[in-house]
């Protein structure tokens, strides 16, 4: 094939400022400390002991060299690496050839270099510019010019975008971007001084992009180029020192690219006051998430009950998200890659939940040996990871574990208070994984679990309960042995499989009463993704839950005929049960991603669920869409969705003797609509309205004879509200956001019964938080929360209120010696005082050559507000007193990592 040769220096021989990093580095001149490409000081014999990070020079004005005529004539290409001395004003003070190419390339490069203008190197902590020497590469390439082609050209699209340093939200220049085309060939380009890149015209198809920038985490993305459309994306990569990004996606669908995500970077998650740096606890600061009761580790999402929101680890369901009392989550932050949080309108990939979804992705082990150890007042944890020896870094591993200290200090405290303690509260969790990854996929085998235990010895029976003396115990255990496989079979085909063997155990004991649930299940999901031309992608999957659950229990029954129902709970006849029940709940789904325009995405889907325990087959159609009114910056996006979300009954609701075998599943219909608006590069605002219609909710009913209990799907209700998030994304010094949720969560037990607010209804939830990092390495942050008070069923009126009648008879004495309360109004009709608290966090990090040490002080409820969590009554319901929540609670921690 004949070809013509053309000169190409302006496009392909790009300035490679950041590309100097592969060659070693930028360093300060002899009159200052030297730094490596990651900003770490290079310690020499004379180097000062201080450790200061630097910001590398950035090209402001690029100067292209002339292509040497002789070389062009002889069709010679070459690379020249210069060593440039850049003064504090960003001007090239000196240029010498570090690695020449001959043929006139060296001279051309030296001639062009003085015309380059840089943003000078700066110390990160002070911003002070300094003289620095960097390596700089000029690349001379000749384009192959095809002869005129008389055949019709294929229709094409374009692919361009910007690459940004996620840690400082600044563009990255000179980074090599490699694109693998559908035919298997590769094309590369480099980002310019604005971080922009452009692959130009491309045939329609699926393209795999990879970026390997020294000092940064690698980036891999698969993008779709569509005929006649311009694909414009922004990628954010993080310096390795920042140890990855945690993404918290608060959208209703699974967005394919970063531009559609709101992200919480690890710096944010680790530094949110009041969370002890726990990633999953940070979810409680997001819009749509209500404040849980003081010591209850639950997630209350958009007015739904705790059991309506499911938690997954790499797509596999786990029974709990937080350890005992909500002190920390069951997976430490350090092993997480990202958290996908769907408060509603989630993908057909997920089911069996009518509330929300939290899907936690565990990150891949690093290919270099590293580790950490952390201790604080609550727990201690360790992590070690790296390549498996003799596998040429193809296989990596990680092991980590955590154990609480609570039993060391809370046990003595409880005993000092007069409570005999058999097992003070303690928890531990553990994670181990091996992984092999390759260009088009990865395989992971992991084992992880959690174990919480508490046991108190109650020497005397409680008031009014003669048979409740003895031990109170609670044990919660889960384990998962999990295999994961992801593979891009072709550019158009992808499979993802997750299989797990799951063991869950819940044991609760109170005197001679107990409830033990033990289940062994096979959990699995597989998804096949197929590209259907330029406009659509099809996702098809199965989601399996099968196994066996056994329940052994001895619990009080409802009073039998002849037994007054107002007697002591503990003297009722006991039901003893030993039940083994099969669990078989398969599901299948199909979901399309349709992009009629580059700015418009439609995601219709349907999910079919079967539950053997209810013999019920349900269908859940869903639809989500997003439309970018304004592409690029400042982006404006509108979004919306509607769908059906089916939830099977809880095991204890459907299996006799505690449950009713006639119960059916319940479901919700979600609607949401919202808008996202970028204000500045750092500031983004989003507003979303949502409405959930709840149907067929299970309601316990006493039979007309009063002698038996049934559960019927007569309940219904709704949750409506709006969420506002004003977020300042992290920059050099500050991050923060304001999250406000307005909502109302209503139920009724039957269509003809009155409405009432559910107990966890919180109309107003305001969270304001921010953290400022000083140049000295200190960081201080605060979080203020103002939340509507909890709801209560009052029996005794509040004497401080004008309408309180202190002479009201609040309870009737009953013939078996107790008091039967008379509710003061309907269900949940008293709103307790609003909750407000301010949390403070102070961090300090010391960076050494081989390791880093950090310390923090995290103070919850810093001004010790006595927030009312509930109302307590005396035995005869003649008096009431507020039960207050967690007082000021400081925690300190130390962490070392290498």
């Amino acid at each position: 094939m004949a070809s013509l040769l053309g000169r190409k220096v302006s496009a392909s021989a790009l300035a490679l400022l950041a590309a100097t990093l592969p060659f070693g580095a930028a360093w300060a001149q002899d009159d200052g400390p030297k730094f490596d490409g990651k900003g770490r000081q290079i310690k020499g014999e004379e180097a000062p002991p201080s450790q200061r990070k630097v910001v590398l020079p950035v090209v402001k004005t690029y100067a292209a060299p002339a292509y040497p005529p002789d070389a062009k004539k002889k069709k010679i290409e070459g690379e020249v690496i210069l060593k440039l001395t850049i003064d504090a004003n960003g001007l090239v003070e000196k240029a010498v050839v570090d690695q020449g190419a001959g043929h006139g390339f060296d001279e051309a490069a030296l001639a062009a270099a003085p015309k380059l203008i840089f943003e000078p190197a700066r110390f990160e902590d002070t911003g002070q510019p300094f003289k620095a020497t960097i390596r700089f590469k000029y690349e001379f390439k000749l384009d192959a010019v095809e002869p005129p082609d008389e055949t019709p050209k294929p229709e094409v699209g374009t692919y361009r975008g910007q690459l940004v340093d996620a840690s400082i939200s600044e563009p990255l220049a000179g980074i090599r971007m490699v694109l693998r085309l559908p035919d298997g060939t590769e094309r590369e380009t480099y980002t310019d001084e604005n971080g922009d890149f452009n692959f130009g015209e491309l045939p329609p198809g699926k393209y795999a992009l990879s970026v390997q920038a020294e000092g940064f985490d690698p980036l891999a993305a698969t993008e779709e180029v569509t005929v006649g459309e311009e694909l414009a994306v922004t990628y954010r990569i993080s310096p390795e020192a920042v140890a990855g990004i945690i993404d918290v996606v608060v959208e209703g669908e699974r967005p394919p690219r970063e531009v559609t995500r709101r992200t919480l970077e690890q710096r944010e998650i680790a530094r949110i006051p009041g969370t002890n740096g726990d990633a999953l606890r940070s979810l409680q600061s997001l819009p749509g998430v209500a404040r849980p009761p003081a010591i209850a580790g639950v997630l209350l999402v958009r007015g739904s009950a705790p059991q309506d929101t499911l938690t997954f680890v790499d797509g596999i369901n786990v029974p709990l998200i937080y350890h005992f009392g909500g002190l920390s989550s069951v997976l430490p932050t350090e092993v997480l890659e990202k958290i996908d949080f769907y408060p509603g309108n989630f993908s057909a990939r997920y089911g069996r939940a009518q509330g929300g979804i939290v899907d936690v992705a565990v990150r891949s082990p690093k290919k270099e040996y590293s580790g950490l150890a952390q201790v604080d007042l609550i727990d201690a944890r360790v992590l070690f990871e790296g390549p498996i020896p003799w596998t040429d870094k193809e296989w990596t591993f990680s092991v980590s574990g955590r154990r609480s200290y609570l039993d060391a200090w809370l046990g003595p405290v409880l005993e000092a208070a007069g409570t005999e303690v058999a097992q003070a509260p303690r928890y531990y969790d553990y994670q181990a994984a091996i992984e092999r990854s390759w260009d088009t996929g990865k395989f992971r085998a992991s084992f992880y679990g959690s174990d919480d235990r508490l046991e108190l010895v109650v020497g005397e029976p409680g008031p009014g309960e003669p048979a409740l003396a003895g031990n109170i115990g609670l044990i919660t255990i889960f384990q998962r042995g999990q295999l994961g496989y992801e593979h891009d079979i072709t550019p158009d085909d992808r499979v993802e499989v997750q299989l797990a063997f799951a063991h869950d155990q819940l044991s609760f004991g109170l005197s001679n009463l107990f409830f033990n649930l033990d289940s062994y299940q096979f959990l699995g999901r597989a998804e096949y993704t197929r590209k259907l031309g330029a406009l659509a992608t099809l996702n098809m999957g199965i989601d399996m839950q099968a196994g066996e659950a056994s329940v052994a229990a001895r619990l009080p029954a409802l009073p039998r005929p002849g037994q007054p129902d107002n007697g002591p709970f503990s003297t009722r006849q006991l039901i003893t049960a030993d039940v083994v029940a099969g669990v078989y709940r398969p599901a299948a789904y199909v979901e399309a991603e349709i992009t009629p325009l580059s700015r418009w995405r439609l995601v219709p889907g349907i999910r079919l669920d079967y539950a053997k325990d209810t013999t019920q087959l349900t269908a859940s159609p869903r639809f989500n869409t997003r439309f970018d009114i304004m592409e690029g910056f400042p982006r404006t996006t509108v979004k919306g969705g509607a769908g059906v979300f089916q939830q099977p009954p809880q095991f204890a609701q459907s299996v006799p003797p505690f449950g009713d075998p006639n119960i059916r599943g319940n479901y919700a219909v979600h609607y949401s609509v919202g808008v996202e608006q970028e204000i500045t590069r750092q500031l983004e605002v989003s507003l979303e309205g949502f409405y959930k219609q709840l149907e067929s909710q299970p309601i316990s009913q006493v039979s007309t004879s009063g002698a038996s209990n049934t559960i019927a799907n007569t309940g219904l209700g709704y949750v409506g509200g709006a969420e506002l998030l004003v977020k300042y994304k992290p920059d050099d010094h500050f991050f923060g956001w304001i999250a406000y949720t307005l909502s109302r969560s209503v139920r009724r037990n039957a269509p003809d019964e009155p409405e009432y607010l559910v107990s966890f209804d919180q109309p107003h939830i305001l969270t304001v938080l921010g953290s400022y990092r000083f140049d000295s390495g200190w960081e201080i942050g605060g979080r203020f929360r103002f939340v509507s008070g909890n709801l209560a069923d009052p029996i005794v009126c509040d004497a401080g209120k004008s309408d309180c009648d202190p002479t009201r008879i609040n309870a009737l004495y009953n013939g078996v010696g107790g008091y039967t309360p008379i509710a003061l109004g309907g269900l949940n009709n008293e709103r307790l005082p609003p909750f407000n608290a301010f949390d403070v966090r102070v961090d300090k990090k010391w960076q050494f050559e081989l390791w880093a040490l950090s310390a923090y002080l995290d103070v919850q409820n810093a001004y010790n507000n006595q927030n009312t969590e509930a109302i307590a009554y005396n035995f005869s319901f003649t008096g009431r007193t507020p039960v207050t929540g967690i007082p000021i609670l400081p925690s300190i921690g130390l962490r070392g990592e290498f």
Binding site: P293, I295, G297, V298, A305, F324, A416, A417, L456, E460, P461, P463, G464, E465, A469, I472, L474, T476, N512, G562, Q563, P564, D565, P568, Q573, L574, T576, F651, A652, Q653, I699, Q701, T704, S705, G706, I711, G715, N749, A750, E753, V758, T807, I809, N810, L812, Y813, N814, G815, V816, G817, I822, G825, G826, N829, A872, S876, T878, G879, T881, V883
Partner: protein
């Protein structure tokens, strides 16, 4: 009655466990065993499981300890509510309101009738067991007047309501504050016409069952009390037990927090109710292994002076049977005087018995 159904989740259990501990450390309320207001201690029924057509006697023990000396108490009994829908006691209130208006609406001392009785407990009878009684004839058709249930025994239920007031009782309009249970249509006023509260006015109810199969239930008897192993004599004669006082005030004991014990240095006494192993089989109640279950029996202790811990003890377990150690510990009050100690034994089928003993504190 219906309520949202939910599987008792882990978070709720966590809250329960820690909540029990937190509340146990919270100073505030008087114990159930401390008698320092008007209280009803027991309402006994001579036939907790009655035979249709029988006359059943209800006996009430009430005590007033609000002031330095007891007040007299006006008592009313109201019967005649049989088999309300769902066996819900509060569905009798409408009928009660009409009865009370017709009988007491005109003021003055209400006359007694088949389903109504006005009574008075004098200050001298305060605390005396069974100071007021009421007889009710169980209708012959108490069982057959309601539909036969699909499962379980065929039975009827009779509710009886009562009130004790350290003032004057007067009926009110039936009203609801929005809850499922309306306000009880009766109030208690003082000589100035001001409403008295729950420290001077107690309303209650009890029930009697009748079964088609004629099953009966005998109340478990209590034969007396022992103090440190010695039988406490009946009455306030010269032979009543005398013990030293404990200097810690009632207020100091009530407000003691976790880890504090203001009565650590005081002499404490072991109280024991004399109750034999009388638990009967509970017809139709079987354990998981087919074992015939017995009725559960427990005892509750009260005193108008000092502290009792625990206030309630199990006497007989449904599966384990008789539990011989149902003693409690009594710490005398700081003020000298003669005080009452009561023990009430109950079974979970409506049977009960009460005993009163006295102790002198110096």
């Amino acid at each position: 009655m219906s309520r949202p159904s939910f599987y008792a989740p882990r978070w709720l259990l966590s809250v329960l466990v820690l909540g029990l501990w937190l509340i146990s450390c919270t100073p505030g309320f008087d114990a159930v065993s401390k008698i320092n207001t008007l209280r009803i201690l027991a309402v006994e029924v001579d036939e907790p499981y009655a035979v249709p057509g029988d006359t059943v006697r209800f006996s009430l023990t009430a005590v007033d300890a609000l002031g330095d000396s007891p007040r007299g108490m006006q008592v009313v009994w109201i019967g005649g509510c049989f088999n309300p829908q769902g066996d819900q006691y509060f569905l009798c209130f409408e009928q009660l309101a009409e009865q009370l208006q017709s009988v007491m609406g005109g003021g003055g001392t209400p006359p007694s009738s088949e389903f109504f009785k006005g009574d008075f407990i004098s200050s001298e009878q305060s605390g005396v067991p069974r100071a007021s009684t009421f007889d009710l004839v169980i209708p012959d058709d108490i069982v057959t007047s309601r539909p036969r249930p699909d499962t379980g025994p065929y039975y009827g239920i009779s509710y009886v309501f009562f009130a004790a007031c350290a003032g004057t009782l007067r009926p009110t309009e039936l009203q609801s504050l929005g809850g499922e249970v309306p306000e009880f249509p009766l109030e208690c006023i003082d000589d100035n016409g001001q409403k008295l509260g729950s420290d001077s006015f107690v309303i209650g109810y009890t029930q009697v069952y009748a079964f088609e199969d004629g099953r009966l239930n005998a109340s478990p008897p209590i034969d007396g009390l022992t103090l440190d192993g010695a039988a406490m004599p009946d009455g306030q004669g010269d032979d009543i037990v005398t013990v030293p006082s404990c200097p810690a005030t009632s207020e100091a004991r009530r407000t003691a927090g976790c880890g504090e014990d203001p009565v650590a240095d005081c002499t404490k006494f072991t109280l024991n109710a004399i109750i034999a192993d009388v638990a009967e089989d509970d017809p139709g109640a079987f354990g998981g292994d087919g074992q015939q279950l017995r009725e559960t029996i427990w005892v509750t202790y009260f005193s108008d002076g000092g502290d009792l811990a625990p206030a309630i003890k199990l006497v007989s377990d449904a599966t384990l049977g008789y539990r011989p150690d149902f003693t409690t510990e009594w710490t005398p009050p700081d003020e000298p005087g003669v005080y009452s100690i009561w023990a009430v034994v109950r079974d979970q089928r409506g049977g009960s018995d009460i005993v009163q003993r006295f102790v002198r504190v110096e």
